[in-house]
């Protein structure tokens, strides 16, 4: 990114494989579960003053509140003018659980019983708005809605505001809580969902993505301010890019055309040569078409075997608008631990795909360096972040 450097000084995660960054990391390196990835035994009430405050937030906002609390606690005292603090939380479907519940209320009890909180709970900007109110951050507070690319785009958009001097710090991430009977049926009827319940990115037996919920939030902070206050810096947002396939509402463009242009633009934005890329956290959804297009795109830019690739969706499943943020968190943790988590569920590389260097079985030791994190959303939205190691 041209302009000021962007440090990551806080990280918070609420995911099915672990709540909190350390538990999340352990989950990423552990065997994957089977079936939908939901966060069980998690009590949101700890984050709210009273039941009323909690009840007027949808689950996707509750996840964001918890993740942001962790990220901010880690970041410590920012001492920044609140008008220069931004909030960018992406989501795919926002408060769909609230919407579905209230449709049921209307059908069974009539329109007079529909909650006055339906709209402020379901709107996709509710998580961002709730965080800005909770923490008094009064700079730009916006919401990126680009399906499965939303988390990545939100972080990219937020980083640019820090880079160009508009903000000094931004809470950035993505959150999704998509488990309602109607949404599951919709995804299922698209034949996008795995029927086996096993997420197997880049494996010939892959049969669709496994739906997940989850949220990650990063504190992005102007580098010099972070250094001056002695903050712990996890990594740096070196660059980002966003392109559209302009091809089909759900299928990726042939040959991974949109993914190729997105990764190339992100590398240009970061000023990083393809040959210097150490690692790629792939979108790797475990759908036939995504993984084929993405592997093709990676091979086109980097050759084979190319950088070390993993898809953490083998463990996490696909948390849609939360996914890109969870994967940025996975990259930052991989840098801190100097280990790249394996692609769980993957047994053999699909022989029809280019021979990408996929981490399989055990976590792989690496020397952290420039890393791409890819996200591709229904609608043909492509997003790539370039994250630098400290």
């Amino acid at each position: 990114m041209q302009g000021r450097r962007v440090a990551v000084t806080g990280l918070g995660v609420v995911a099915p494989c672990g709540v909190g960054v350390e538990a999340f990391w352990e989950g990423l390196c552990a065997p994957a579960p089977i079936g939908p990835r939901q966060i069980h035994r998690w009590d949101a009430s700890a984050y709210f003053e009273n039941p009323k405050e909690m009840r007027r937030t949808d689950r996707f906002t509750q996840l964001a509140v918890a993740a942001a609390d962790e990220a901010l606690a880690q970041a410590g005292d920012l001492a920044i003018d609140p008008s220069r603090l931004g909030t960018f939380i992406g989501t795919g479907v926002g408060g769909i659980e609230t919407l579905e519940t209230q449709i049921e209320v209307r059908l069974t009890k009539g329109e007079r019983r529909v909650s006055p909180f339906l709209v402020p709970m379901m709107m996709t900007n509710a998580a961002a708005a709730t965080l800005s109110m909770r923490h008094g951050w009064r700079g730009p507070c916006e919401n990126t809605v680009t399906a499965c690319a939303a988390g990545t785009h939100a972080i990219g958009n937020a980083a640019r505001l820090v880079s160009n001097g508009y903000c000094d710090a931004v809470l950035a991430g993505g959150s999704e809580a998509p488990f309602t009977p109607t949404s599951v049926a919709g995804f299922s009827n698209m034949t996008a969902l795995s029927t086996s319940g096993v997420s197997r990115p880049f494996d010939p037996r892959r049969d669709g993505f496994v739906m997940a919920e989850g949220c990650a939030v990063l504190v992005l902070e102007e580098w010099d301010l972070a250094q001056a206050r002695g903050a712990t810096i996890w990594g740096e947002i070196l660059g980002s890019a966003s392109t559209a396939d302009a091809h089909h509402i759900t299928a990726p463009a042939p040959g991974g055309r949109g993914a190729i242009s997105c990764m190339r633009l992100a590398l240009d934005d970061a000023g990083v040569a393809a040959s210097d890329v150490a690692h790629i956290n792939a979108h790797g959804t475990s759908t036939d078409k995504n993984d084929a297009a993405e592997a093709t795109a990676i091979a086109e830019i980097f050759g084979t075997p190319g950088p070390i690739v993993t898809s953490t969706k083998g463990v996490t499943g696909h948390a849609l608008g939360g996914a890109g943020a969870l994967e940025a968190a996975a990259v930052l943790l991989a840098m801190q631990k100097q280990l790249i988590p394996p692609t769980a569920g993957h047994e053999t590389l699909d022989p029809t795909l280019p021979k990408i260097d996929l981490v399989v079985g055990e976590p792989r030791a690496w020397t952290p360096g420039p890393t791409l994190s890819n996200s591709f959303g229904f609608g043909g939205h492509n997003g790539t972040l370039v994250i630098g190691a400290v």
């Binding site: 009273n50 009323k52 405050e53 019983r113 909650s115 909180f117």
Partner: protein, 76 residues
Amino acid sequence: MSDNFERFKNCAVDVLSVDADQVVMEATFESLDADSLDLVELVMALEEEFDVNVEEEELDGITTIQGAYDLIVSKI
């Protein structure tokens, strides 16, 4: 205190997340940290509890527990 007020109070405690001893006749909704949307939600709960109908315009000017309670009781 009447049985009706006990039922009213239970609704208010549940919807507004306040303590039962805060729900007294002279309490204002402002003092109970209840905004206009909270009031709508409380009235919905009261409509169900007492099997009454309250029109939106009837809530104009209602700022206290007494006001809301009197409105509900007048409809039973």
